[in-house]
Symmetry: C2
Subunit: 190 residues, 2 copies
DNA sequence: TCACAACTAGGTCACTCGACCTAGTTTTGT
DNA sequence: ACAAAACTAGGTCGAGTGACCTAGTTGTGA
C-alpha cells in the first residue's frame, strides 16, 4: 500500500463528486463516505476544503495535458491530410456525448468565473494545449504564422462544439470535413 | 407599480446571484436580502427553490434569444461580406472579457450536466439560435446546405472562443478574418 | 360594507456544512 | 526498546439552508 494511496483516493472520489454534483456538491463528508473513511481522516490529508479543491485542480489539469501529449504527431507523409482529419475527429467527438472530461471542464469553466486560482489554471491549461498541439502539427506547417492560426481555430471550435454539437444542423462528419479543409489551408499558408 | 414587479425583481436578483456565486450560491435568504424583502415574501412568489430556478431559466434564455433577434439581417448588397465580419465580431467579442452573459452561460452549462430540465433549455436555446441566425444569413446564402454549414461553424466557434480566447496565440482580428472568409465560402456554396 | 383573495412578516424545524478538538492506534527512525 | 511522527476515529460547534406555519395587513370585487 502506497503512502499516498489514501490521499489519491480522496482526489479520485472528490473529482467524481465534482463531475456529478458540481463544486458545492463536493463536501468533506460526502468525500469521506465515498472514500470509505472518516471525516477526520479526509481532513487530515486536506486540512481545509480549499486545499482539497486546489489539489484536485492541480492533478486534473495535469492529467488532461498528459492525455493530449499522447496524440500522435502528424508526419509529413502523403496522407497527412487524412491524419489531420483523424486528429480533428478525436477532438470533436466530445460533442456527441457528454464525457467525464466534458462534465469536469464545464464545472471548472463555471468555477473559474468566481475563483481566481482556477481561472489561472484553465488559462495555463489552454496555453500549454496551444504549445502541445502546435508541436503535433508543426511537421506539416509551412509557417509558424499559419500554425498559430490553425491551433487558434481548432481549440476554440472543439471546446464550443462539445457544448453545442447536438443542436447543430450539420452532423459531425460534415463539420469535421469543413474544419479539416480550413486547417489544411491554414497550415499551407506561407 | 406593476403587479409582477416583485416577482420580476426576485428573478433579477437571483440571476445576479447565479452569475456571481453559482447555482448553490442562490439561496432564498440571499435573494430576499438583495431584493430587500423578507424570506417568506420570496417564498410566497416562488414556493420552492426549484420553482425559482425554473423561472430564472425560462426568462433568461428567452431574453437571450430576443437579444439575438435584434441583430441586423445581412442584406444582399455589395458590402455584405463586411457585414458578415461585423456580425462575427459581435459574437467573438465575448472572448475578450467575461461578460455577464458568459458567466451565466458557464453556470448553466455546468448545471445542465446534472439537471435534465436545464439541459433541455440549453439545447432548445441553441436550436432556436440556429433558426434565428439562419434567417439573418439567408439573403446572402446560395443554398440551404451552405447556410446550415455556416451556422454550424459560427455557433460552436463563438461559444468555444468565449472560453479560450485569452489563451490563443492569434488575436481577435486575425480570428475574425479567418472565420469570415470561411463563412463567406460556405454561404457561396451551391 | 363586507368577504375573500393577495400579500407581508416573523418564527421554528430538522438538517447539512466546514472547522476544530481530543484521544487513541500504528508506523518509523534511532 | 522507545519516543516521535503519522495516522484514525468520534464528537462538538456555530453558521446556513429549504420548507413550513401562523398571524397579520392590504387590496379588490360584489
Amino acid at each position: 500500500m502506497k503512502k499516498n494511496a489514501k490521499a489519491e483516493k480522496i482526489l479520485d472520489v472528490a473529482l467524481l463528486l465534482l463531475k456529478n454534483e458540481g463544486d458545492y456538491g463536493v463536501t468533506m463528508r460526502k468525500v469521506a463516505a465515498l472514500a470509505d473513511m472518516s471525516l477526520s481522516n479526509v481532513q487530515y490529508y486536506y486540512k481545509t476544503k480549499d486545499a482539497l479543491l486546489k489539489s484536485m485542480a492541480d492533478r486534473y489539469f495535469q492529467s488532461c495535458l498528459e492525455q493530449i501529449k499522447k496524440i500522435d504527431t502528424i508526419q509529413s507523409d502523403d496522407c497527412w491530410k487524412l491524419e489531420i482529419e483523424k486528429l480533428l475527429r478525436g477532438f470533436l467527438v466530445h460533442g456527441l456525448e457528454v464525457t467525464d472530461m466534458c462534465r469536469l471542464f464545464r464545472e471548472y469553466w463555471a468555477i473559474s468565473t468566481r475563483n481566481q486560482a482556477i481561472d489561472e489554471h484553465i488559462k495555463q491549461y489552454y496555453r500549454e494545449m496551444v504549445v502541445i498541439l502546435s508541436d503535433k502539427l508543426r511537421p506539416v506547417a509551412q509557417s509558424e504564422q499559419g500554425l498559430a492560426k490553425a491551433v487558434s481555430v481548432i481549440i476554440p471550435f472543439s471546446e464550443g462544439y462539445s457544448i453545442t454539437a447536438l443542436a447543430m444542423p450539420e452532423d459531425i462528419n460534415s463539420i469535421t470535413s469543413i474544419l479539416q479543409s480550413l486547417v489544411v489551408n491554414l497550415l499551407q499558408e506561407q
